[in-house]
């Protein structure tokens, strides 16, 4: 079994939402012009992920998964509602975002002032729904693991957007070729940052055999090709 700490660290670095899966790219590109707004959006994403993933975890395990309804009555053990999971997850995300917005407005006006405009945007941020779907796919065994995963993903997203915002602020003073200005150079820099983040894949986790089963196809192709590169390097 992977330890909770492993899941947490992996979600921040080697399985970073932005650099490994490109989730939440739209707001990542649109809201990364200044560090200040990037910090606001990043904080909002951490917060919403931290709330929605555990809620979706409970939904998944006590309502949607094959046999999940067994706790209500043994006759319902063979009901599989997992085809409903998309609509349930997105409904949970949209309503929690709305709820969080109202709660924050009521009880923490200062925070609302800081996050205000970003909260509604988050309902359609891919990283939130992506967090829920990855949680479903990887089948974390306890809610603690799922929470660690969501917190790690949020922090990873935060690091990514703040870093690119800082770079974009500096890039304004450099001479970028006309056609690359703005979007083009941001894409390429994100690619380079992704390469840098890939070096975190060398981190050794507690149980290597489990790692391969748990990660998705995308990640496993990455690991495979990485191994290929390594072997290629050893025989010149």
């Amino acid at each position: 079994m992977e330890s909770t700490l492993d899941i947490f660290v992996k979600a921040i670095f080697s399985e970073n939402m932005i650099f490994a899966y490109f989730l939440g790219m739209c707001s990542y590109l649109a809201v990364s012009k200044t560090v200040k707004t990037a910090v606001g959006l990043g904080a909002a994403v951490i917060f919403v992920l931290l709330v929605t993933v555990p809620v979706n975890y409970l939904l998944e395990n006590y309502l949607l998964k094959a046999g999940a309804l067994e706790w209500l009555s043994p006759e319902w053990a063979d009901i599989d509602l997992s085809f409903l999971s998309f609509i349930m997850f997105i409904a949970v995300v949209a309503s929690i975002v709305q709820l969080v917005e109202m709660l924050v407005e009521k009880f923490a006006p200062a925070l609302y002032g800081a996050l205000g405009i970003f909260l509604p945007l988050i309902a359609v941020n891919c990283s939130i729904l992506g967090g829920a779907l990855f949680m479903q796919e990887r089948q974390y065994s306890t809610i603690l693991d799922a929470t660690a995963f969501s917190l790690g993903s949020g922090i990873g997203w935060f690091i990514a957007i703040v870093a690119i915002a800082a770079i974009r602020e500096k890039i304004r003073y450099s001479k970028v070729p006309g056609p690359l200005r703005g979007l083009g150079i941001t894409f390429i820099i994100t690619g380079l940052m992704g390469m840098a983040f890939m070096s975190f894949m060398g981190i050794k986790y507690a149980d290597e055999t489990k790692k391969k089963d748990a990660t998705t196809e995308v990640a496993s192709t990455i690991i495979d090709s990485e191994e290929n590169t390594n072997t290629n390097n050893t025989n010149p």
């Binding site: 899966y21 949209a94 359609v124 729904l129 590169t229």
Partner: protein, 229 residues
Amino acid sequence: MSEVTENKKAPREPLFSKKNKKLVTDPLTDNNPVTIQVLGICSALAITVQVEQGVVMGLAVIFVMVLGNLIISLLRNMIPSRIRIIVQLVVVASLVIVVNEVLKAFMPDVSEKLSVFVGLIITNCIIMGRFEAFAMANKPWPSIMDGIGNGLGYAGLLVLVAFFRELFGSGSLYGIKVLGSNIPGEEWGLYTMGYENNNMMILPPMALVIVGVIIWVQRSRNKSLIEEH
């Protein structure tokens, strides 16, 4: 809302009028949803390792776009604007469930590879963006055209990126080895001359760099697209 009333008064347009054609062709070039409007990158890049996945994903998005645009456009006068995001999400989510079930039933291996990214069509910014910007204010037929255009623009870019990544990353196209084979013992084609696949192409960061280069090429051909900063 003014646009809606204008539309109603206008004389009946032919189905393939110039304006409607423009709705389809514009997103393919100078108003591409991915490279110009910066929408829908979220789920686009991770699945461009192989052309096949790109094609399937593109078709799925076209399907969802066209039907979603149609439904939203038909409902546009009934949706209260306060809850429109939730209505739109429900429409997309239902369509995506259909796509997902069809993929699982008929193409299980592709569905496995696309993993969570089929589900992420729901939050694909292109779809929400077009609902907001077009379908909420236009009649059903132009909305369908707009859906086809933007869907094709997205699918086209996906296939283009996947083409480069698969060709240089695995030396094949649509699963067919076009550059030869590098299986030890039965090498043929370029590999006999010492050619090696560029494994970097398979890794996620290269997708971003390729899109960056595509944007570069596109903007240097059409100077009006260049951004200030």
